[in-house]
Symmetry: C2
Subunit: 172 residues, 2 copies
């Protein structure tokens, strides 16, 4: 079964509102262009367009929400397999018919399937709340994310240099 619960994180178009182009700036602006525009509040952070009244954090949190539902389903499925094979079969059968892309939609459908399924849904809600608050290592997420970005940047630049430097090949 395939799921894609966080697909929407970047399903945003690149349409941007037209800014004032009358001013001339260097081709690489400093990171705080807002400070040059008196109508905008001073902010140390880079301007991220396209999120309206939401924020990148809100967008990411919504996708983490679907991720936590997915994790909760995995946890409950594994528990059921050991302790209640009948309930495990019920849940697996339901999973084969319903997508986990939208965690809340999945839970709402599970609650309405039958009284037995409703028990499973309540368990999933309980587990995702507990997992999000107690088990998920948020500090670790930040640390791993920063590491992955740094390592990826180095790898991309190194690969490019190796690929575009014939001298490096001949020196071997």
């Amino acid at each position: 079964m395939e799921t894609s619960s966080v697909r929407s994180l970047s399903q945003l178009s690149f349409f941007l509102p037209k800014p004032n182009r009358n001013k001339s700036y260097p081709s690489w602006p400093c990171k705080k262009p807002r400070t040059t525009q008196p109508t905008r509040l001073y902010c140390q952070k880079m301007y991220v367009p396209g999120f309206g009244e939401a924020s990148p954090e809100k967008k990411a949190a919504k996708n983490m929400h679907d991720f936590f539902t997915y994790i909760a389903v995995r946890i409950v499925t594994a528990q059921l397999e050991s302790y209640s094979p009948e309930a495990y079969e019920d849940l697996m059968e339901f999973l084969s018919r319903h997508s986990l892309n939208d965690g809340d939609k999945f839970c709402a459908a599970l609650m309405r399937e039958s009284p037995r399924h409703k028990g499973l849904a309540m368990r999933i809600l309980e587990v995702r709340s507990s997992y999000c608050k107690n088990d998920f290592e948020w500090d670790n997420l930040k640390r791993l994310s920063v590491t992955i970005v740094e390592e990826s940047n180095i790898r991309l630049m190194r690969d490019y240099v190796v690929e575009t430097s014939p001298a490096t090949e001949s020196e071997k």
Copy 2:
């Protein structure tokens, strides 16, 4: 343009290894089943199967990585639109031909497109690193995620009660 850079977060199958079913447990186990199995290390956390040697945090971090690339592209695009319309057109044209699903693949292709595009790619790498480390509000992500899970749970249960309680309707 549509992108789905974090699609892979939950593209995992629900295949689970078969555990020992000889023991009998209550249908709802306590949250630390591992402590009853002497071959496993004691752990306060719920067991999340299916991540092999990785972890949910690692999986989430990989998807945050693609999200940060997406954010960086948005930031750079907005900056270019104000300061360098030619570079903006270059980037938008490239975006129309390449998917942002895999951020690193996108950057690698952008670097190799032309020397001008390489400059854009380097800028995107720089911005995603800076954004991830300095601008993104990690504490806010955790706070929002917990809030969304709690509110969603309450809403799902309330909707179910309202829907399945005809008495509530007649009392109005």
